[in-house]
């Protein structure tokens, strides 16, 4: 195995772990779009709130676990942060989006942008504008690959990356089970298809919408914790760029399509890492937007999306 091949595989691993984060956030965008037909631009800031939930909850949980970082502590912090973000998501929906449900879509869109700005500024006011050090929940170190893997031992896979990939897979499995096998999941799919018919069928639309928001926000919160484990420097503006890139990932995969969000996230993560590694690190952020332009020009419905004709 040549050195270049090893380097390429290394970049793929890095890209996959980055893509998993984008996928988690993109799932929230896509679910809300599927159910409400609007892009919740404040979603990236829920990611930031997840990281800060972990920042405040983390030390207390660690105390409970004898101040030693470990998987137990990390799991508890993850679940608590997901819960906090779910609640916050539902509150945001009830306060800011529900009253505007009968209004034109552009009104809600601009409100979403306003909520995003509010969360960022309020975050800077409450948490302070300076970057803070996220508490160590698990030691993010490189794993010693078994010698029998031969040349592959030159690869670096960190515990953080493994946790991110593992947790993302687990969360996606749980999400799939919820959406495909539960009643509330069926209600979500039905609502995405036709809200009026849903109401006629006796579904409590408001509850399903709140549930969708809560679920999406919980995933964003999880992404916030997983990112902070790997990059322990958090600040109130950290959600802007990942939020935008996850939005691009959702569009890339086909907005409204859950599998598309995952696919889009992974593709975007890998492409971004490859461009940084082989072209130039300064183009890192430009990649996402170049991808957005390309996909809208070539295949606006997204990779897995279908062009749905609106029947009048």
């Amino acid at each position: 195995m040549s050195e270049q091949a090893i380097e390429f595989i290394q970049q793929l691993i890095n890209g996959l772990s980055l893509g998993a984060i984008y996928a988690l956030i993109a799932l929230g965008y896509t679910m809300v779009f599927g159910v409400l037909r609007f892009i919740n631009f404040a979603h990236g800031d829920v990611f930031m709130l997840g990281a800060f939930s972990g920042f405040y909850v983390g030390p207390r949980v660690l105390l409970f676990f004898g101040n030693k970082p470990g998987y137990g502590a990390a799991a508890v912090v993850l679940l608590v942060s997901m819960l906090i973000c779910a609640v916050l998501g539902v509150i945001i929906e009830k306060l800011c989006y529900k009253p505007l449900r009968e209004r034109p879509k552009i009104t809600v869109l601009i409100t979403a942008i306003g909520v995003s700005l509010f969360l960022e500024s309020f975050g800077q006011y409450i948490f302070g504008a300076n970057p803070q050090a996220f508490p160590t929940l698990i030691e993010d170190v490189a794993i010693d690959l078994p010698q029998s893997w031969g040349n592959f031992t030159a690869l670096t896979v960190t515990t953080g990356q493994v946790i991110v990939l593992g947790t993302t897979l687990a969360l996606m499995l749980i999400l799939t089970v919820i959406v495909l096998k539960t009643k509330i999941g069926m209600a979500m799919r039905a609502l995405a298809y036709n809200p009026t018919a849903c109401a006629l069928m006796g579904v409590n639309n408001n509850f399903v919408i709140s549930f969708t928001f809560g679920l999406g926000s919980a995933l964003a919160g999880a992404a916030g914790i997983l990112t902070s484990i790997q990059q322990p420097s958090i600040d109130p503006l950290m959600g802007i760029l990942p939020g935008l890139k996850a939005f691009v990932a959702a569009v890339l995969g086909g907005i409204g399509n859950l599998g598309g969000a995952v696919l889009g996230g992974i593709i975007l993560g890998i492409v971004e890492t490859l461009v940084v590694g082989y072209v130039s690190p300064t183009y890192r952020d430009a990649v996402a937007f170049a991808v957005l332009i390309l996909i809208l020009l070539l295949r606006p419905a997204g990779l897995l999306g279908k062009n749905v004709r609106e029947k009048v």
Partner: protein, 372 residues
Amino acid sequence: MRLSILLTGILTLTANFAARAQNEIPVGEFASLTGGSASFGQSSHKGTQLAVDEINAAGGVLGKKLRLIAEDDQSLAGQPATIMRKLISQDKVVAVLGEVASSKSLEAAPICQENKVPMISPASTNPKVTEVGDFIFRICFIDPFQGTVMSKFALSNGYKKVAVLTDVKQDYAVGLAEFFTKHFTANGGTITKEQKYSTGDKDFKGQLTSIKAGKPDAIFVPGYYGEVALIARQAKQLGIKVPLLGGDGWVGDSLLKVAGNALDGSFFSSHFSAEDKSPATQEFVKKYQAKYSAVPDDMAALGYDSAMILAEAIKRAGGTDGAKLRDAIAATKSFKGITGVITIDEKRNASKSAVIMTIENGAMKFLDTVAP
């Protein structure tokens, strides 16, 4: 009757303001008190404030108290220019202290030069800052010197092959990398790889993977502490065992909090060490600790010196007239500052020693002093 009462009132108020203005010397300061490089601004501001309080407690300058007007540029480009205009036109400051970051100094300097308001930067090391005009000064060393300090250190420690990882968004980092590379390659060293990143980036695994492949003896990272901490962590994760080398941009309170033990065994150059045993330094450290319950870093010491030098220059100029004050600052000779003996040369820079610091067990430790 009513009109005369109104007039008396207005006259009394204006008289009060005039009296207050006559009894005070407004001095402007701009620093990054919040944001990605908040440590720089908060430290330098604390040092500056300590000096101003000391001066005012001793009676002020020429019988008048100094009024320090500090503004926050939030570590964002574009803010220094706005702040400078406000300080000069609204607050009518006689001089400006700032900034630590060279990019921000470069942004504000032309405005000070245009309005003939002297500007003293405590810690901007990029040579371009004082080249803006004759009203712009600095009291620290410049990067052509700092680059050679680290380069000589690397060569003398046997690091013949070095990779360079530069922050392309900061004039400071780009300049320092240039000067390091020039001296290093001219004296027998080779640069294995040059990689770049931007301020605010969080992931450097791509660049580090590429650097690791070149098998360097050390990696030169002349950036700011926020990114350096993350770079050190990720380098350790990728199995990079060679030390990191850096400059005074590493001095930030969150550097070691975020990096943990990942920076152990690395080296960087800077202006000041609180471990220095000289009585002046120890007295300064005591005063600073009494007021702020923290140990002062370079930026605090330089902030302190910049305010002290300005006050002394105002005394020598006998007033705050722009041109006279500028000449007085330019004539600063052998000023005994906390960070060294400061003489402003004809290029409006100071020629001072650098200190080399290392990091052991997650704490900074003084290693050596290097004279120019």
